[in-house]
Symmetry: D3
Subunit: 248 residues, 6 copies
């Protein structure tokens, strides 16, 4: 059930049965010479909708732009500051908690969002307590990173070995190829790229990773792989969502 | 050309030819008993993509959640505070301006966004000057409200007369029906609803507009109308974008 | 009744009869070679006091400095950032709403304030709801731009035709001449100046409007005109205030 | 020379001779049963203009509303939060420093502003250094509290002895009577009121000082006294301003 | 009783007997060629613990970094912006007030903190009222500057005369020598240094006070003096704390 | 080399040889019935100083209060909001980076700080780029959680097995016993406590973990263990610091 394709009376009806909502969050950032700038949002959105269908959960509109400051030396990247993203998350949850939602399941497509999301959750719990919103003490937020699912890791290992890398990975590129087969990009890629450097500022990042990839070989991706990743991620996260929903 | 379906080298190539970008901005808010919560984002996104195709312009990911605090007494509405939205817009433009974009054309689907967007533009121009970003003095932002296009007004008048109203209007509902025919909602609507009250806080809004509509009869909407609205809006805003792009 | 010339017991007495207050807001910004930097505040204050006398309304101290970032390339301009002005308005209304005021009528002398004021109202309604201040749901804010009164437009058209322009206009200059006849400035003005450009950043503004005027000929202004503008604005806004006060 | 009655070319001319500006800052707060709510702004403004005339200095529009949170349990008080006032001061000085002003002399009418003003100055010096504004290292801000002038203290002691008190004092009330003789208020005052308590929150303040006075007997004030206070304050602060202006 | 060496049940027990807490606040800033960068924090912490022992008061962890922006042109200085420090103080007091503390006694080692602390207190009182925390109206904050104690002034005058100066003073250096005899530094000092200049921005400060001292001769300090200062400060502030604690 | 026991000329000398600095960060929060409220700060500070001695690195004053909002339902806990802590970190690093430091090694004693610290680093890198501080692109921040050292894990496993738990652990309690043997607390502990629940808001936390422990048995701690943990952590983090310092 997609929030943006629902009416408010439908939301009220839903709330009588469930207080859970899935919020896809991605990023708008460079993904190497062939990866789509929207990769993280595309993956998070597609998988969230799959999970929503499987579990009958409400799915909120995708947060397309996240925390990607370290990618901003590449054209096309858009990032919120962490302090901005914290306010965004606080505003989202405050609105939805007032309406009665208490279980917020963020399906996340971008590693760079994790820290800020966690900080935002802490900020928000305290804010809801300040406001003394009904049931504030029941509000729970959880991050589910699809790319860190056990089943996804395993599949990526099988398919790509150590060419999976950690940014502009063949696994995430494969999911975008599955979702948008019409937008598969090809470009000559140097066979090996650096990997394993820590991430600091944007200028430093680009100097270490000149084409944007981090140790990955996205040439290995296929739409068929993408469907496989999608399937295992949806299955694993559907279980994860239901456990989260039903835990006290 | 959709930013989220592009790669960063494609964006660099684009920037050599054009410094313009279209940013769709909508809202996630109640639209009466039959209007979709995502109406404003759906319309802004669809029309932006149409304009992007017509003009070869880059189209950024849609800002799905805007300033809809006055709708927050209805379940399902998500709103940013104006102060948050200002930061979001500032972060977006700062990233893109650093990359070389100078012409920001916001195709907007929600009247409630207008004031905050304008405030955000002022805040951002000063911020870019503070940072002394290259070409900061060339950065220009413009709001284009599709629902305020002359051609849209005219068509709505012809089709709906004074049943167009001002929120959850048949024209915007029609566009969503055209875009998502599978999500057409039906519910019994009282024949007449109040209209014309000013907008203040959320509780006050709901007491004046109990089912969320403002003087509108969305029952009149059809997907065919939606296509008509889409077509005239795309045509008019394509001209608007090109004028904006080419003005000094 | 002027707030700054009242005592707190007088305010308490007033509140037993009325919960309305007029807040003049202007700007401190360049107004061309002959216009006073305080023009917008002077006009808003004078007209507010006229309306206050006519309607027995409380008039708050004038907000002299508003949102004029686009004028800051001219010496003498002082501007708040939109984000600052939002906080200022929120602080004002919160204090006054706690005391029992619920109807806030901002008589505004500067177009550049409008967007930020509207954003501030939205921010404030939500803030008051957060605080659960008594009667928060009754708080209403309205902007009344004296220069956009029908009667003012009409008079300006009659007196100045298309030489009224849109900044440093003869109408506003005339009001300042009426209020401060001792401060009438003369300087050679080029007969025609540019007009009609959109407003972006401060450096861009000054390059388009080198002497600060926007399509106006303030040489046409006289103190007698000023009195006429004052009279029609006070009359129209007095009606506007009373309607606002008595509306539910 | 009053900024609001000047034109921008006049300001440019002024800046060639002097980089100093006087900024009056007051407050809008209860001043006991007979003191005007605008007392602090009225005094600061009148004395600033006197100093401006004596020294040929530019005088900015008065900041009417300051930091008076501890008075907000009395109707009619308007206060900025310290964090808001810091932003306001930062915005003011940043605009004026960009134009070339470097010496900011705040003539202050309210003890409650002092701490926040000093904090704001520190915040602003660092901000100007961040922006690398020309001559940022020459920017100097100073607070001149008219009510703490030696000559004012001496006169108050002579005229009122220990009935001067520390809020709603006869000296400040006298100045307002001199400036606005038409607004002299009378009300029965209890002969003695508490004084000497420290100031904490607003509710606490009102419980300690039920009629708003702090150890003062404003009944002793006369317009003639007001003129005397005005004269000595203008004389002393004119010297103070010139010393400040000419110090390196 | 040191908070950081207590358990939460011990704090609960303490709160049944007393609602007072001492919060040492210092600074991390240059103190001339021989003064320790931690001087202000060291002094505040040592004296706070002495007062805590004398009065059986709870002592919070030391706020080591305060408002020292004007010292930031010297390496090793760390400063919060005033706006940051206000938030820090607000967060501290809000947590502790929720737990039941109502009397906050800040023993301060740095003049530059005073203004921001006072601003923070005002901000916090209003915040606690906004939150309607239990007993919010009883919360009281007080600054006790050990270096401004009458007994400290007197002793410094006796020992150092006008070589005490106003920054990197022998008195504060002596206290650090008493606390950390192993960290006594020696360096050749010019016999006389400038003093008496007002404090503005960081670059200006360093140009006026090239070695960081303000009119002081810290060579006069001895650990024995330090003990004397410590003793008189602890005695005077212990009385001060108890008066504060017992005042209504 | 401890920053607070150094002079500014010593810092300048140090900077000619090294641009690295260790910043201990802990928390002030409940640690169960017998754990010290300052546990996390005590451990971080002690281990940081050990690492500083081993590596000749500069050690900054300890950040005693971190992000512990989820512990605030227990008396004595003090927490910053994540948004506040981000500003604090930004201010620290900005000051130190201006002085020439580029390598910031945060030795952290509290899991709850990690997310906010990472968010703060991202915010800060972008801020330094905005300011165009010299060498901004070389600034690197790293978190080193002593309790997550491999050697610490191993030792805790050996000594405590699954009674280590995840909050108020015997390992951290042991370190505080080693550092402050005079502050060893004893209280009857229930033999088993809950563990493994996720962390949400403060009220929820206390309902799940009524005495504050999370699956731990701190009764097992001894000062001798503490020395062992201290030794292995210092050894491992000293290597970690040097690697960080020398990496490009």
């Amino acid at each position: 059930m997609l929030l943006h394709l629902s009416t408010w009376p439908e939301v009220e009806t839903y709330l009588q049965q469930s207080q859970g909502i899935i919020i896809p969050i991605g990023s708008t950032e460079q993904h190497g010479p062939t990866g789509l700038i929207g990769t993280d949002a595309i993956c998070a959105e597609a998988i969230s909708r799959g999970v929503g269908e499987t579990t009958q959960a409400m799915v909120a509109p995708t947060i397309n732009v996240g925390m990607a400051l370290h990618h901003t030396a590449f054209s096309g990247t858009i990032s919120l500051r962490p302090s901005t993203l914290i306010l965004v998350i606080k505003d989202y949850i405050t609105c939805l908690a007032k309406a009665g939602f208490t279980k917020f399941y963020f399906i996340n497509g971008h590693g760079g969002n994790i820290a800020t999301l966690k900080a935002a959750f802490s900020e928000t719990y305290a804010h809801l307590e300040d406001l003394q919103i009904q049931n504030y003490q029941k509000v729970q937020c959880q991050i589910a990173n699809w790319f860190m699912c056990g089943s996804v890791y395993k599949l990526a290992k099988e398919l790509y070995g150590d060419q999976e890398g950690s940014h502009a990975t063949p696994s995430e590129v494969a999911v975008t190829q599955y979702v948008y087969p019409e937008a598969i990009k090809k470009a000559p890629l140097s066979p090996e790229v650096a990997g394993g450097h820590k991430i600091y500022g944007a200028v430093d990042f680009r100097s270490r990773y000149p084409d944007g990839r981090m140790g990955s070989n996205p040439d290995l991706a296929t739409p068929e792989h993408g469907k496989q990743f999608y399937d295992v991620a949806v299955e694993e996260l559907s279980k994860g969502y239901l456990e989260f929903l039903h835990q006290e």
